[in-house]
C-alpha cells in the first residue's frame, strides 16, 4: 500500500480515488480481508464464490463512487454493496454451503449471546457452528454484523437498509432463536 494512503481516512480515499486509481487500490486493500470474512460468515460462500462476489462488489464500488453519500461511513456503504451483491448472487446461483467459522468466532458469538452459561465450554464452539448454520439468513447476518464485525445499530441499519428499530428487533429475535435452537438440540446444560 503506498505510503501516501496511510494517513488518509476511507472517505478521503474514496474521494481521491476519482482522480487517482492508486488511491482506489489502497481503499480496496483495506477492505479485502474484512469483506471476504464477512461474505463467508454471513452467506456461507466458498472461497471462490466469496472472491467472485467481492470482485463484483469492488467494481460496483468504483462505478458508484460518485454516488457515495458522505453522511454515511464508507465502511457501511461498502458492506451494503457487498450485502446487495451477495443477495443477488444467491438469487442467481445456488451455491453450496461452506461453514468456515473458526473457534474464536464461534466462542465470541456464544459469549456475546450469553450461551456459555448454558453449554459446556468444550462443546460450545462446535454447537454454535451448527446453530449458526440453521439460523435464518437475515438473523445470521444481523448477528455477524453486530458481534463479529462490531457494527453499531446505526451502521447495520445503513448496511441492510432497515430502520434502527427493526435492526434491534432483528438482533433480539436472532439471539432468541439462537438460544431456542440450542435448548431444543442440546438441552439446558449439556
Amino acid at each position: 500500500m503506498p505510503e501516501k494512503c496511510e494517513s488518509k481516512t476511507d472517505e478521503e480515499l474514496a474521494s481521491l480515488s476519482l482522480k487517482d486509481q492508486d488511491f482506489f487500490y489502497c481503499l480496496l486493500s483495506r477492505y479485502e480481508d474484512r469483506l471476504l470474512r464477512y461474505l463467508s460468515r454471513a452467506f456461507f460462500f466458498s472461497r471462490e464464490d466469496a472472491e467472485d462476489v467481492l470482485q463484483e462488489t469492488f467494481l460496483k464500488i468504483y462505478k458508484n463512487l460518485n454516488g457515495f453519500d458522505p453522511s454515511l461511513k464508507f465502511s457501511s456503504w461498502a458492506y451494503r454493496i457487498a450485502h446487495n451483491e451477495s443477495v443477488s448472487f444467491l438469487r442467481k446461483h445456488n451455491p453450496k454451503i461452506f461453514n468456515t467459522y473458526n473457534e474464536e468466532d464461534l466462542e465470541k458469538i456464544s459469549s456475546d449471546i450469553d450461551l456459555e452459561k448454558e453449554m459446556e465450554k468444550k462443546h460450545s464452539a462446535e454447537r454454535a457452528r451448527e446453530i449458526i448454520q440453521s439460523l435464518k439468513e437475515n438473523y445470521r447476518e444481523a448477528l455477524i454484523l453486530k458481534f463479529l464485525e462490531d457494527k453499531s445499530y446505526e451502521e447495520i441499519s445503513d448496511i441492510i437498509k432497515k430502520p434502527v428499530g427493526t435492526v434491534a428487533t432483528l438482533i433480539s429475535r436472532a439471539k432468541k432463536q439462537f438460544k431456542k435452537i440450542s435448548l431444543e438440540k442440546y438441552g439446558g446444560n449439556s
Partner: protein, 247 residues
C-alpha cells in the same frame, strides 16, 4: 498483496471502466422525490373527492330507498376514491422508501406521514373545489365512472322511490316544471310548499322528495336546494339551461 484488489484494478484499466457521472445519482434521488410528490398530489386529489362526496351526500334519504341506515351508508361510501387513495399511498410509500435515507423510517411512520400530507393537501384542494370539479368532469365524460362511483349523484334520479332532482324552468300556482339530467321535463305539484320556501326559483336546481304520480308528474312533500354544480346536477347540464333561460 491484496490479490482481489489488484485484479479489480487491472480489470478497471483493461476494460476502461469509469465511475458513473454524479448527475445520474442526483437525478435518480430527485426522481424518487418527484414520484413521491406526484403520488401525494394524486392521493390528495382522491382525498379531495372523498371529502366532497362525504360532505355533499344526503345521508338521511335511505328511508325512501327501502334501505337500512347502515346499508345505505355502505352504498354511499366513495369506494372508487378510497381505492385510488390507497393505491397512490402505496406508491408514495414505495417511492419514499427508495429515497436516499427513506429506509431509516419505519413503514408506520411513512404511512402516517403520507396520509397526513395527502389529507392536508386534499383539504386545501377541497377549498378550491378541486374534488368537485374532478368528480363532475369524470361523471360527465365517462359513463362507466357514473356506474362505478356516481351513486351520490344518481341516487336523486329515482322518482319511483320518491326522489327527483332537476333545474326549475317554470313556476305557476303550486306547480313547477323541472328538467332532469336525462333532459326529461317533469311537472311537480308542490301546492303551498313552493310558496313557503324560497328554494324554488326559475333557473335554480332543486331536489324533491315525494311520490311519482304519472309518467312525467310528481307530487312533492319536501323540497331541498340543489347547489349549482353539486351533485346530482353537474355544471355541464346547468350552464346551457341557464343560458337558455336567460336568453
Amino acid at each position: 498483496m491484496a490479490e482481489i484488489a489488484k485484479k479489480t484494478l487491472e480489470k478497471i484499466k483493461e476494460e476502461k471502466i469509469t465511475p458513473e457521472p454524479k448527475w445520474k445519482f442526483f437525478l435518480t434521488d430527485w426522481a424518487y422525490w418527484g414520484f413521491f410528490a406526484f403520488t401525494i398530489v394524486f392521493g390528495s386529489l382522491s382525498f379531495s373527492v372523498i371529502f366532497f362526496v362525504l360532505r355533499e351526500s344526503d345521508w338521511d334519504i335511505y328511508r325512501y330507498l327501502h334501505h337500512g341506515p347502515w346499508s345505505f351508508t355502505l352504498e354511499l361510501l366513495p369506494y372508487f376514491w378510497i381505492a385510488s387513495l390507497s393505491f397512490f399511498l402505496f406508491l408514495a410509500i414505495i417511492n419514499f422508501h427508495h429515497t436516499k435515507h427513506g429506509y431509516r423510517f419505519t413503514p408506520t411512520l411513512i404511512v402516517g406521514l403520507s396520509i397526513l400530507l395527502s389529507a392536508l393537501l386534499g383539504a386545501s384542494l377541497s377549498l378550491i373545489k378541486a374534488g368537485e370539479v374532478l368528480d363532475d368532469a369524470l361523471f360527465e365524460n365517462y359513463p362507466t365512472y357514473g356506474k362505478i362511483a356516481g351513486f351520490h349523484r344518481t341516487v336523486w334520479n329515482d322518482p319511483e322511490n320518491g326522489l327527483l332532482n332537476g333545474l326549475v324552468i317554470s313556476k305557476e300556482d303550486g306547480t313547477v316544471k323541472i328538467i332532469d339530467r336525462n333532459k326529461k321535463v317533469w311537472e311537480v305539484n308542490c301546492s303551498s310548499l313552493c310558496e313557503e320556501t324560497d328554494i324554488v326559483k326559475i333557473g335554480v336546481p332543486a331536489r324533491f322528495i315525494g311520490e311519482q304520480t304519472g309518467s312525467n308528474s310528481f307530487s312533492a312533500e319536501e323540497i331541498r336546494p340543489g347547489k349549482i354544480g353539486a351533485p346530482p346536477l353537474p355544471l355541464k347540464i346547468i350552464r346551457p339551461k341557464l343560458k337558455m333561460l336567460i336568453n
